[in-house]
Amino acid sequence: MFNKDNRAEKFKDAETIIGGSIKVKGNFHGQGNIVIEGRLEGSLKTNASLFVGEQAKIVANIEAQDAIINGEVYGEIKIKKYLSLGSTAKIFGDIQYAEISVEHGATINGQLTVKAEVEDNKRKEKAIIEEEVEELPGEEGAA
């Protein structure tokens, strides 16, 4: 997961950078981090992180692990972990995510759905905490 502070670090080694004067059409499937400052039409899929710049325009369904979106997206967005929508983000489509942050000014025209994975993770975390509490030595002895 990333935040604004480590964003630059994370995208410095981006596998693909689509600059401002570039238009990509078709099914773009990558393995690494992707930065989009230009236009993309079709579909976009990566197993890593996605950064969408302020001037970017995407007409595509998006799938990624994490994403920071500051531009326009027309299509369905599925983010496995963390999605950050900046104040300039304009989303026209349904969004699926595990965790989300939305800055003041972002526009969303679509349905927001928390993916079941989060619930699973929370259940797992709760189970681990309960196990740890049970295993804590000395509590009973001290009493």
Binding site: I17, I22, V24, N27
Partner: protein, 248 residues
């Protein structure tokens, strides 16, 4: 046996001193071999093929980027067309101050230092770029405006003036930000820089360039027509390299 391919521009008197220094150093180090002067022959491919058949173990291009371009192409072509390819090493001795970016990227310095590098025999397999029926070691470049790149399942359209560089090996260690070219990863790095200073980067195994008639310049030496398909021969050439090369 080492075979030294001297480019024809070395016949100019201003290179006499450099060539003399080189030949003295090679003799001192016991590296002397056969010299083939390109000015005296018509076909470099035939010359290189004949030298390899006669037992040349190392082909040394003496000159600049263009010398490397044509000599390396001859070695690669021989390897590709031979039923039983012989293992031939490749080396570059840069002469002159300009147009030696390939040698620089390989960590090979001028004349005498280059001889020490040849003696050290530090060998690396280096990818070779392919553009149609041509080869390149360093990069291919063309004007960007109106060009379309057809990559695996998608197209990239460039709408502004600028330069497309298809990089296999690069002298400078950065393309964009911290990206280091890796001439041994089986991929080509496409770097698009447009007039408005927008930069784009793609790393691909193969693709096709379609353009509005622009030519593609290979290794700053030869222009070819587009459309053309580009790809890479992974580890296509075994090159003797220097310590200060621009890649791992």
């Amino acid at each position: 046996m080492n075979v030294y391919i001297y480019d024809d521009f070395l016949n100019k008197s201003k290179y006499n001193r450099a060539i003399n220094r080189l030949e003295i150093k090679l003799t001192d180090l016991g590296l002397n071999g056969k010299i083939v002067r390109l000015g005296a022959i018509k076909n470099i491919h035939d010359a290189v093929e004949s030298e390899i058949k006669n037992g040349a173990k190392t082909i040394v291009a003496v000159g600049n980027n263009e010398t490397v371009f044509k000599t390396a192409a001859a070695v690669i072509e021989h390897q590709a067309l031979s039923f039983i390819p012989q293992k031939t090493l490749f080396f570059v001795i840069p002469i002159g101050r300009e147009d030696n970016s390939i040698a620089n990227a390989l960590g090979i310095k001028k004349e005498e230092d280059a001889c020490n590098t040849l003696l050290a025999r530090r060998i690396k397999k280096v990818d070779i770029g392919v553009a149609g029926r041509n080869y390149f070691i360093e990069k291919a470049e063309m004007e960007a405006e109106g060009a379309i790149l057809e990559i695996d399942g998608y197209t990239v359209e460039i709408e502004e003036k600028g330069i497309i560089s298809i990089i296999n090996l690069a002298e400078k260690s950065n393309i964009i930000g911290d990206k280091k070219p890796k001439p041994n990863d089986g991929r080509l790095d496409i770097h698009i820089k447009t007039r408005s200073r927008n930069e784009s980067f793609f790393s691909v195994k193969s693709f096709k360039i379609i353009s509005k008639g622009q030519d593609l310049l290979l290794d700053s030496s030869v222009e070819i027509k587009t459309p053309v398909e580009l790809g890479v021969i992974p580890g296509g050439l075994e090159i003797i390299v220097g310590k200060d090369r621009a890649f791992e």
